[in-house]
């Protein structure tokens, strides 16, 4: 017996082992439904990502190009607060205002 003959017998036996095994009838429809479902979810994902990107870019543009108050405006605002000589607002000033909010009298009550 040659190798070729043995191979033929092996092929024949292996095929007879699983002869008659077929996929169920509804397999194709199940596959089609699954493909459609994954397409739909992919589209939804694309729409959501695009919307998120647009919102993010609009928000970033808004933050970067928002009109900031220049020094003159700030001085004018300070001047409005009954001060005779307008002075620039510094961090220390703001900290002082913040501290004033929590100052207390000798009685331990908060200053009005």
């Amino acid at each position: 017996m040659t190798e070729k003959e043995l191979d033929d017998i092996f092929c024949q036996r292996l095929k007879s082992c699983i002869s008659g095994c077929k996929l169920p009838e509804e397999f194709a429809s199940k596959l089609k439904a699954s493909v459609r479902r994954s397409r739909r979810s992919m589209r939804l994902c694309i729409v959501l990502t695009t919307t998120f990107a647009v919102i993010l870019s609009v928000a970033l543009t808004g933050l970067m190009h928002s009109p900031s108050q220049d020094d003159d405006t700030k001085c004018a605002l300070v001047a409005k607060c009954d001060k005779k000589t307008p002075e620039k607002v510094s961090c220390w000033m703001l900290l002082g205002f913040f501290r004033d909010c929590f100052k207390r009298n000798r009685n331990g009550r908060r200053k009005k």
């Binding site: 092929c11 082992c17 194709a28």
Partner: protein
Amino acid sequence: MEIWQEIRRNSDRGAERLVSEYGNRLYAAALLLCSNSEDAEDLTFRTLNQAIRKIKTFDPSRNFYTWLYTILLNFRRMDLRRKRTSVISVGSTADLPEVAIECFAEKLECSGNDQLSEALKALSPQLREAVVLRYYDEKTIDEIAAILQVPPGTVKSRLHNARIALNTLLSGKEP
């Protein structure tokens, strides 16, 4: 029109054609690899689903069935890794006797379908893959080497080892 072109154009009609042309062939190969009809059906389903989804990556210069088979094998390997199934491995055949062709052919012919299926189940996944590709799909050594991404010499050695192991298993002895 080629099947891959049809899938790219219309996935519904492509899916139907895919199942009718390759479904049963892949399912049979999956049955030999999985030895369980539920697992085999699931494996075939995932393979065909993935093929439709990734059809744009298919290279038309390649054989379509070989491409499908590669997807199937990758899924099978992933499953095996996840489950970490303990296969009665007969990967090492160093101490097994050499098979006389006539003797092995006789055993093959005399064995029942169940006996042969059980013997196949007992082979290690690597040997089983090689056997299914060679004797069910009737691929050449070079084709099997391309699918499994191993040198042709490795394929030959796996087939040889599989034959020795099957011979022992069909004799009813423990390998």
